[in-house]
């Protein structure tokens, strides 16, 4: 059990010019916390994790585990366990040997290893497979062995690098819940890397969003969703993505096609001096209203039926350009393709404004 902190830690890949894969990352993870690092590919999330594991150099700054500076400590001295995307199971060892390998290296007595492996196997429903080689296991079973290998160690920190990305969709959802429950039960500090924001939102106590090696925001899933710190986070978190459009503003509010969306005093103050802002609104905060009412004119271009609800994609004119909007509507009565509908903002408190250039959230 330990807390983890990144202190302005950077990883710089040599090249011309050098690439700052992780740039002055500062992050505090408290003991027992489940932290998810999320970001698009190339955002540096895996590199950040590997720095913590000791598999990448820390070129600047430092990393502490349990209050101890481990910047120059090799992986084996960090008391961590890692689950790899490819699982990295040792092909020449059985499941039991794979799980007990780290303990064997530490000189733990055989009987104790056996007991621990069996306990972990029971937890993960692997008892039947202990004598098999990884090759003879299914993808889901391999994933569980990789988890087991980490658990048996009883490390102070678990590191997981996209551990679910090689599973099919159904199994992924199932395993997602299992991992979260397991972490809850063991109470071990866990850093989890994923590119899937749904995984991030459902699993993490807190989620850190990275882009281009820079930490964008780190907060609880709810806070990320409700108050994204910038346009990138707003667009990245949530599915389908938030509608983000550059729109002109005036003292009354933001001007969209045919309507003016009123803005709060404080928001207007924050946007003081700007004549345009990046206007963000989630699909569920929009709604289709009867044709008589006030709203934007939208031509339906695509309807994605999800069952409980439907996503309507359509074009709306803003200024001279036609912009695409997504609206979440009730699944039983979706509009048809090509239909002209009126779209209105259902809830003005769910409007997010960002600086049109810097992308920073505008808010008092």
């Amino acid at each position: 059990m330990a807390e983890v902190s990144y202190v302005k830690a950077s990883r710089i890949f040599s090249g011309n010019p050098p690439v700052r894969a992780v740039d002055e990352l500062s992050l505090e993870v408290s003991d027992g916390e489940f932290l998810v690092l999320v970001g698009p590919s190339g955002s540096g999330k895996s590199t950040a994790l590997r720095m913590l594991a000791g598999l990448e150099d820390i070129d600047e700054g430092a990393i502490h585990i349990g209050g101890k500076d481990v910047t120059n400590v090799p992986p084996k001295g960090r008391d961590i366990a890692m689950v790899f995307q490819s699982y990295a199971l040792y092909p020449h060892m059985t499941v039991a040997e794979n799980m007990g390998f780290a303990l064997k290296l530490r000189g733990v007595p055989k009987t104790e290893i056996k007991a621990k492996v069996e306990e972990a196997a029971k937890m993960l429903d692997l008892q039947k497979y202990l004598e098999r080689k990884p090759k003879a296991l299914s993808g889901g079973q391999r994933q569980r062995v990789a988890m087991g290998r980490a658990i048996v160690r009883e490390p102070s920190v678990f590191l997981m690098d996209e551990p679910l990305s090689n599973l099919d969709a159904k199994l992924r959802v199932e395993t997602r819940a299992n991992i979260a429950a397991l972490q809850q039960r063991l109470g071990t500090t866990t850093i989890y890397v994923t590119h899937d924001q749904v995984e991030a939102m459902t699993m993490g106590h807190r989620v850190a969003v990275l882009k281009d090696g820079l930490l964008q925001q780190c907060d609880t899933p709810r806070a990320l969703y409700d108050r994204p710190a910038n346009a990138f986070v707003a667009g990245f978190i949530g599915s389908p993505a938030m509608n983000l459009k550059t729109v002109p503003i005036s003292a009354e509010g933001a001007k969209l096609d045919g309507i003016i969306v009123p803005l709060t005093r404080s928001a207007l103050d924050a946007a003081g001096g700007l004549d345009e802002v990046t206007f963000g609104i989630r699909p569920e905060a929009l709604g289709i209203v009867p044709s008589g009412e006030e709203g934007m004119d939208m031509t339906v271009e695509l309807v994605e039926e999800l069952g409980a609800d439907a996503l309507v994609h359509g074009a709306v004119k803003i200024g001279d350009a036609s912009q695409r909007f997504v609206v979440r509507v009730d699944g039983r009565t979706p509009p048809t393709l090509g239909q002209h509908v009126k779209v209105a903002v259902r809830d003005t408190t769910e409007i997010h404004l960002f600086h049109p250039e810097s992308g920073e959230r505008l808010e008092a």
């Binding site: 992986p75 084996k76 990295a88 390998f101």
Partner: protein, 298 residues
């Protein structure tokens, strides 16, 4: 979804099988005929040596060779009894030298190949290039300087000196092969090992070596053969005493200036070939895989 994919595959495999059994009779016959002819050509010289090894020397040079001609095991008994030279001592020397070359050569190639596969370090490119360069020079003409060095190291006339010389011949190819083979082992495995508590050397020894069996099999085979059948260095570097010769050197006694004892030479050759063929048989199922991954990545 998974069900669909797997059932599709079954259909495809079934389709292939159907077409393969559909290969016309003529094509099948031609295929087998070609392979049989090729196999006969491949095996025949060895077979013919075997046939000859059973004949007395005089019968071996008759103008109309026959399969059997006063054939017996006499040549073998005479060779093994040491009548023509200490065959068993030569054999023992060859085994020791070839095994030492294999173990040392493959081990140092493996460490170098692993470093070249996993680490980026200054000088790596130069090292790999120098291996290619080493293959280009006919080193046998350097027997004189080599001899001087072995004297300087106090290794002249010893088996170990000869083993080191053989290693220089075997190592470049083995390193290339093993580097290529290690490249096919995902580096995640190394990292998992590091996290589990291994040092870089521990990773190499406990994870990578056991996983590289096919690559190690090919390179062992190569190193073994390099040492097993070599003549020039062996005759130059080992002392002239009969009991310190290797097989390849010792067998020259059957080739006199004007008369070759074909029967005896054949019998001795078969005896020499047997260990090589045994080694070959042990590793042959790894050869294709091992050589391919080595050469593909080269």
């Amino acid at each position: 979804m998974t069900l669909d994919a797997s059932s599709l595959k079954v259909v495809q495999a079934g389709g292939n099988r159907l077409r393969r059994t559909d290969r016309s009779k003529g094509a099948s016959v031609a295929l087998h005929a070609t392979l049989i002819v090729a196999s006969i050509i491949a095996v025949f010289p060895v077979f013919w040596v075997f046939v000859t090894s059973l004949k007395p020397d005089a019968r071996a040079v008759e103008p109309t060779p026959k399969l059997f001609n006063e054939s017996s095991l006499d040549n073998y008994t005479r060779v093994l009894s040491g009548e023509k030279g200490d065959f068993l001592a030569w054999f023992g020397n060859s085994v020791v030298i070839a095994l030492m070359t294999t173990v040392i050569g493959v081990f140092i190639s493996a460490t170098a190949g692993y470093a070249a596969s996993r680490f980026r370090f200054p000088g790596k490119r130069g090292l790999m290039m120098s291996f290619l360069l080493v293959q280009m020079f006919p080193f046998a003409v350097l027997i004189v300087p080599l001899y001087n060095i072995l004297i300087a190291l106090g290794l002249n006339g010893t088996s170990f000196g000869l083993v080191l010389v053989y290693c220089t011949t075997a190592v470049p190819f083995c390193t290339y092969m093993l580097k290529g083979y290690f490249d096919t082992v995902p580096s995640d495995i190394d990292e998992a090992g590091r996290v589990d508590g291994l040092s870089p050397f521990g990773v190499f020894w406990r994870l990578i070596m056991p996983l590289a069996k096919p690559g190690l099999a090919v390179t062992s085979f190569y190193a073994f053969l390099t040492a097993w059948g070599e003549v020039a260095f062996a005759s130059a570097f080992l002392s002239a005493a009969d009991e310190s010769k290797t097989l390849a050197v010792g067998l020259q006694v059957f080739v006199q200036q004007n008369r070759t004892e074909w029967g005896h030479l054949a019998a001795a050759s078969i005896l020499v070939a047997i260990p090589a063929i045994v080694v070959f048989y042990l590793v042959q199922r790894f050869l294709v895989q091992g050589l391919a991954s080595g050469a593909v990545k080269g």
